[in-house]
Subunit: 395 residues, 2 copies
Amino acid sequence: MNYRFSNKLANLAPSAIREILKATSDPSVISLAAGNPAPDAFPIEELRRHMADIMETEPITALQYGISEGYAPLRSAVADDLRERLHVGGEEDDVLIVSGATQGIALLTQALCNEGDVVLCEEPTFVGSLNAFRAFGAKPVGVPMEDDGISIEALRAACEAHPNAKILYLIPNFQNPTGITTSLEKRKAALALCREYGLVLLEDNPYGDLRFAGEDIPAIKTMDTDGTVLYCGSFSKVLAPGIRVGYLCGNRALLAKLTVGKQTQDVHTNGLAQMAAYRFLTGGNYHAHLKSLPEIYRRKYRVMRDAIEAYFPKAAKTTEPEGGLFVWCTLPDRVDSAAFCKEAAEHKVAVVPGAAFLSDPNGTSHAFRMNFSTPTDDAIREGCRILGALLHEKL
Amino acid sequence: MNYRFSNKLANLAPSAIREILKATSDPSVISLAAGNPAPDAFPIEELRRHMADIMETEPITALQYGISEGYAPLRSAVADDLRERLHVGGEEDDVLIVSGATQGIALLTQALCNEGDVVLCEEPTFVGSLNAFRAFGAKPVGVPMEDDGISIEALRAACEAHPNAKILYLIPNFQNPTGITTSLEKRKAALALCREYGLVLLEDNPYGDLRFAGEDIPAIKTMDTDGTVLYCGSFSKVLAPGIRVGYLCGNRALLAKLTVGKQTQDVHTNGLAQMAAYRFLTGGNYHAHLKSLPEIYRRKYRVMRDAIEAYFPKAAKTTEPEGGLFVWCTLPDRVDSAAFCKEAAEHKVAVVPGAAFLSDPNGTSHAFRMNFSTPTDDAIREGCRILGALLHEKL
């Protein structure tokens, strides 16, 4: 039959990254395109032990239906952890367990946006989030990034221009794709604008625990006094992404509405995964594990940084992230990164063209994203060598 | 702040059932309100063994990001099982793994429905599905149930009346909440109407393997020649609901669009759960396990049937399901079941008032739903005794 697709899905292409990842199943391709955490960082032994014990002592709890809000001990443990380590979460706040941070983003969009409503976001920003906004009927509108975060001047103009804007979406730490960290001043200014214009500020912080240089900057949620900020966190980078467990911390009334949405998306998050995450959080090794993560990422980043210095021409500008998974490389304006990335793929190196991260999917970008957490050290070096040789040809 | 909720979520109440379930955490309440499969039916030992082995031999596959379509060996195994056991799935069809059947329903609604588009469904029908339609902006329109399934005459009239109808939603086997099974004639007639009016027929079959009486009737999907039917199945009742693994079988082009939606809802389904489901399907005990299920449910149903015969007045009409989890009790027209269920709750017995299952959430129902799979035998008997005494007072 001829399917009559909805307007919001009809023209939505699959995530460029996930499509590239499928293509890179070719083992001869060096992939710097992923956004996967380093598997060396997965606490496999500990997870194995927790899961075995849960299936031995509480199998029915793990296997029967659970409530949509999430496994109660995990909700408490997450709330405690956020309060103690990050000073996130106040009297009016609550925690909702979600099936990965993307679900948190989808739930907020579903709860706030009618078809055509606007989500303001950094330009460029994470394609998975852009697609979640689009697939739930909202229109992402990009606001340019600067070296210290979103342009506040442009953000104010966007708030004025879009009275139907409902959400400001920010990734303040080691942003995907740029690696940029938003300054304290800009965090405060963005929050003030959201209050002024009645936007919910969605603070997405999947990489916050992966800082390997510089000093922590307080989460925007720590400055929230009236429920403007919804904080979104995830176990994908500190534990493992395959378990699909994340969480939201925000105003109780807002989360109650998102819980109704969650009932309609997947009823509840996998029980065993929630129980294992709870035991991981409270099992005694959590803080030591968190402390061990930056070293893994620092070392991988150093390999990429050294390879960039050795092989890339100076005209290719790269960001110097203080954490996270990504380096962003910007080419001169005359070079379209889509064509460059295609040529790189023909030379068996996959990186993600910058256009994937634009609010206008047909826009042009002169930049591309490189990941240093997933490939081996040798793959990083060889990939950068090949990219560097190509760049020298072009620039 | 004052949240400006979307039209689709602003007035959507939490699932009445899930709210009732939270209330029934009071251990003195006998709950016949759940829709949980019998925990006796969970293959705990086998799952424990599979999970332990996966975490020993393939932990990175289980813990790293996976592709949105689902774990490839599980997709193949599900396709094989559907083809061999149910003759479901043809040349043009594919399988998409989802995080429970509710996600499958959400994905189809997201892919096909603009705000205000109509989903035709049996009246009454499963509240979780009704809420999924609503939360994704669609308007459910109920078509009356008869003893052998949806009224075909009323369905044709609804198709005529609603040119913006995109989906017909049916639960042909042991429907939730009525327990009714749709006849072969009505399956054919419903499919013919969907073809005529260009609707996708969403065939939701969570209970198909729980038949304890009568003869199997072919799935509607077996009669599909042009991709009109999307078949939705789940491991929740044959394995365990807490793992949140279900699947869709339908036309490749349709599923490709739903996969884009899934990327925006939860990226992919929990890896370990998919791998465990795969080993369960192919591990050698699957067919024996399937054969063992009906006996558990037959016995539980018999306990409820005997208690109904012993305690209920004749004026309370109950359905006699040939499988599944539910009995539907219809009272005389002068009795509003909402008030009756409230009174029953005061007498410490929880059942679900019929209005929860109506397409108009403010409608009136004279019926209520009783579950026999979750409570103990004694709880079924005592619950029916108390309900019967109340019914004798009213009727």
